[in-house]
Symmetry: C2
């Protein structure tokens, strides 16, 4: 089935200026531009954990498999160049399934100028597994790491949070353009993409930067989906709880020096809103501040793999 | 379990001069040297197809997952730089399984100067899946592609063939050093690594080069394991049949102009034997020549994915 599938793929992949040797040889050759660094990220998605094939179209799953990787490049302020895609497909109906997965993935690849540089397509007796590795390049501003936050930096976020299970966890927009635009126009110190939960990923960024974070709970932008989910589940969790802990928002969480943060919040340079939700502090750990102004320890909540 | 595993991994990964940002951030940053091209290859291995966890140690499986990728880089004459490793692990015993897999992989990575640049470690209700992506760099001699063979080029192979299921399919030596040494000292036209069967991969190389191949059956170096397997199975297949069709030999198959091929065969510059097994010809397709000197059409045999 791989031979047939590669033939299908050949008809559906366009040219890419940086792809010197594409799928079909033993490896792909990419021509990198300007700088000698390349940025690499990989994510593997499995049926039953990251998606349920029984209730989701393979096209949405394919889109997501690439999008989560692009979100990682965004968090580094890297420009995507290429991706390789490996599939473990159930034997029954493998070819149409592979085609549908790519049908969801290719428009996103095209929109972000990502060359599909190769992959490995297999069938087996198990469920669907999709592994995507993306390669990107840095701009002249370098890489935006997790470890650059400093005390007094503001915590900024793009978009809103919570209830992603209602659809955003498949259909989110990887914040690649937003990250590149902010990186080009402002002085940023650190970033992470929120995949496992706002509070958990904030705690991770703070820890990597050897500082703490104080989250202003009332400032967190809560998605409509979080309200809908809270009301639907009625399990005692508020919409804000969902915003803090749900994960798969794939928004950017940034550490930005105060003057620059004020500029960004005033300028609102992106198509999506940028919100200040707190401050990095000297004291380690995650803290929350409510309207009363008191700081309390906050347990990082989210999805632990 | 991923947090624990990353902690274990942190204690077991050394520094690498080209790895600027390693595992733990959203992506890895690699510094490439000299040239601006990078070479990318990926392979995904599943339980039941590429290995059987019930009868093979996880360490051997982990070694193989990296080795098959290094073999692809060898076939491009690329020097390995880094790898990212994604695992889908059965929930039961996931952590010790991941540790054992890496315990088999890391010594090979070290021996070939491969930085483990990152990965994604997941548990799920299915079987073990390992996806490895390697990144390499070309030397000043450029890439050795599949499409460069010309009529009258000699077909050279490293090592011997057949019966890899008796052990070589796990314990083979990726021919990275051999490829780089041949590329540096001789004029080579094309290469492929024999993963799916000598006759099938030869047919693929010939097709990619828009020519044919004439295989001298008596010249094919047959592995001891192929004789052992033929005698064990007694299913009418000769040792030579196994050498032509078994696959997973992970030897190099090269297209080399006649004068250079003679030099290589005389010099025997590698630790493993290089053998001339035929000639590329104008007429498309795969042909075989037996001792009687007659050319007959040969059906490519091997593992079709």
């Amino acid at each position: 089935m791989e031979t047939e599938f590669i033939a299908w793929l050949g008809d559906h992949l366009g040219d890419h200026p940086q792809l010197r040797v594409g799928p079909g040889d033993d490896a792909a050759v990419l021509a990198l531009r300007h700088r000698s660094e390349c940025v690499v990220s990989t994510d593997l998605l499995t049926d039953g954990v990251d998606f349920r094939l029984a209730s989701t179209s393979p096209a949405r799953v394919g889109r997501k498999a690439l999008a989560v990787n692009l979100s990682d490049l965004a968090a580094m302020a890297a420009r995507p160049v290429a991706a390789v895609v490996s599939l473990a497909l159930p034997r029954q109906g493998a070819l149409p399934l592979a085609v549908e997965i790519y049908t969801g993935m290719l428009p996103l690849a095209e929109r972000f100028d990502v060359a599909i540089a190769g992959g490995d397509t297999n069938t087996w007796d198990g469920g669907l597994v999709i592994s995507v590795t993306v390669i990107g390049q840095l701009t002249d501003r370098g890489a935006l790491l997790r470890c650059g936050a400093r005390p007094d930096d503001c915590i900024l976020v793009t978009g809103d949070f919570g209830g992603s299970i209602r659809g955003k966890h498949f259909d989110f927009e990887p914040r690649v353009r937003e990250a590149l635009q902010l990186m080009a126009e402002y002085d940023l110190h650190a970033a992470i993409d929120v995949s496992d939960g706002l509070s958990l990923d904030l705690a991770r960024l703070a820890e990597a930067s050897k500082c703490g974070a104080s989250l202003e709970l009332d400032a967190v932008p809560v998605a409509d989906a979080a309200y809908e989910l809270a009301s639907e589940l009625s399990d005692g969790k508020s919409a804000r709880d969902h915003a803090l802990a749900d994960g798969e928002d794939f928004e950017l969480l940034l550490a930005v020096p105060p003057v620059e943060a004020e500029r960004i919040v005033n300028d609102q340079p992106l198509d999506t809103t940028v919100t200040r939700v707190g401050t990095f502090i000297q004291e380690p750990g995650l803290w929350s501040v409510e309207v009363d102004g008191k700081r309390r320890p906050e347990k990082p909540r989210g999805f632990e793999h």
